[in-house]
Symmetry: C2
Subunit: 315 residues, 2 copies
């Protein structure tokens, strides 16, 4: 059984969907909270056009800050999203440890998000993946809109799997399927990840779900069952690509970690620290977040019982 890793994308996917800009020092405080919680990978931002997505303008500054000696433990990986080779150059300059890149399987979503058709984006992304791998970086390549698109409706599995094959062919060892619009349902999740497993039984699998139709956690559990080991989620359940129709927030990190802990996994993560970060974010934006756990509190703190006594044994 592969271990279960949490990839926090809140500083990128969460904050890019907010109109309010978060000052650098506030972002740093939240990210420090995430680091202290013990989660595995944190996506600090995206190297995109700051005029188009001003919320991501300080991505370089964040990497310069956190890549200084003693600013983070060894075990934490800092990732960034890159859309094109210019972004990759910027990321290589500031020492990004893991590059996340992707192509949308939906033509409309691809054009709105990157200005490129899926074929053009694939060409760009494969070239970037090669360069990042040659530079010794971890690379995760994703298929966006893999489970359906708000503009186009259903997406054929073949389109998804052809992209995956192209990623495998250039040596990418971590493949992510992103449900950018939130259309996925559990049996579809099991089928698509199962098909990738057949293509390459050893590749690392990652998932990225949005909650438009309430199925974010159900789909995450289906992914867990399908051998996915990297789970992308966002603090407070924030998130949503500005160029995707009807996306809702990402799966919330607190919900995801809570669920895993109730199932006996990742009891090393400090859920209370994650809830505290989400509380600060809720306070900053002055509104309730999709993640109700902020109101309910962590179930593992009842009567001071240790998490162990509240887990449910699972096969």
């Amino acid at each position: 059984m592969k271990s279960t890793k949490i990839h926090e994308v809140g500083p990128r996917d969460g904050l890019q969907s907010e109109s309010a800009l978060v000052p650098l020092d506030v972002k740093i405080r939240w990210i420090e909270g995430l680091i202290n919680s013990g989660i595995d990978i944190i996506q600090l931002g995206a190297f995109v056009n700051p005029k188009r997505v001003p919320q991501m303008a300080e991505t370089e500054a964040l990497f310069r800050y956190f890549m200084q000696p003693r600013r983070k433990p060894e075990g934490v990986t800092l990732s960034a999203l890159v859309l094109n080779s210019k972004g990759l150059d910027r990321g290589l300059d500031v020492g990004v440890q893991m590059f996340c890149m992707g192509v949308s399987a939906s033509e409309t979503h691809s054009l709105k998000n990157t200005g490129m058709t899926p074929a053009e984006a694939q060409h760009e992304v494969l070239a970037m993946a090669r360069r990042a791998l040659l530079a010794g970086k971890r690379v995760q390549a994703s298929v966006q809109s893999a489970f359906g698109c708000g503009y186009e409706g259903p997406i054929p599995s073949e389109a998804v799997l052809n992209l995956v094959k192209a990623y495998l062919n250039v040596g990418v060892r971590c493949i992510s399927l992103a449900d950018s619009a939130g259309h996925g349902i559990p049996p579809q999740v099991e089928d698509l990840f199962g098909a990738i497993r057949i293509l390459d039984p050893a590749v690392d699998l990652a998932c990225h779900f949005h909650n438009t139709y309430g199925l974010g956690l159900a789909n995450s559990l289906a992914a867990l069952k399908s051998g996915v080991s990297y789970f992308e989620s966002s603090f407070g359940g924030l998130g949503g690509c500005p160029f995707t129709k009807v996306a809702a927030g990402n799966v919330s990190t607190e919900y995801l970690v809570h669920t895993l802990q109730r199932m006996g996994r990742r009891l090393d993560i400090d859920l209370a620290a994650l809830i505290e970060v989400a509380r600060q974010i809720s306070e900053f934006f002055d509104r309730d977040l999709p993640s109700l756990i902020l109101k309910a509190g962590s179930i593992v703190s009842f009567k001071g019982l240790p998490a162990k006594e509240l887990q449910h044994e699972t096969a």
Copy 2:
């Protein structure tokens, strides 16, 4: 395979958790919308103390209205919640078709909700179940707080199963497990329903999930897998017992029906009609509801594709 039935509890569980009182004519309009959608069972209200729960004061009036000839199709069942024999008398007087009753497996929740210990409540409920069955009524008996309690934490499976055995012994043929506080997780759902199936392979199973920790739909899908055929849900995702700690809303009916339809089930239900009811409710309370589908729209309407083309075949 048992068929999948929707039991809408919004007019009861949804509205009892709202401080604003809904006028009778408005409730009637919403319930007419639910009836027209083609769902199976609608819980019109609860026969409880109107001073304690004023939102339920017009339950008799609703039954008098809808039990008139030609006010509803044959296939729709109207249910009500009863807590004690006085409530049962009131329900029998106005022709309730299906009585829902339950005992909390949590002592604290039971005392706060009914003023009775679980043992006292069990005595009362078993007597009510016998009377309602003798009167020729459908009876559903539930174990509340079956998956954990906001006050007490974990609830031993034995407490749940002992209550179920008592229900079966008096002839109840529909057993519901209610996750009143929203603490359930999918493997626990499968275990508990599986244990009841072993006690009685033919009994009808029902589930009632709250969404406190984001797992409402994931738990519903686990219940579906475990042979549960009656699914309780609430319009717009409203709901929450006023006497349960940290409960969040119920699973939303629109989300549930959407999920089932994507999996090829219950394509006869008019999801757009359900979304329209939830829209009216959102307008009445002048706020967004937990159910994001109101904003996203039904996925089955994309480009006018019929639902059939958007379902995902499942085993």
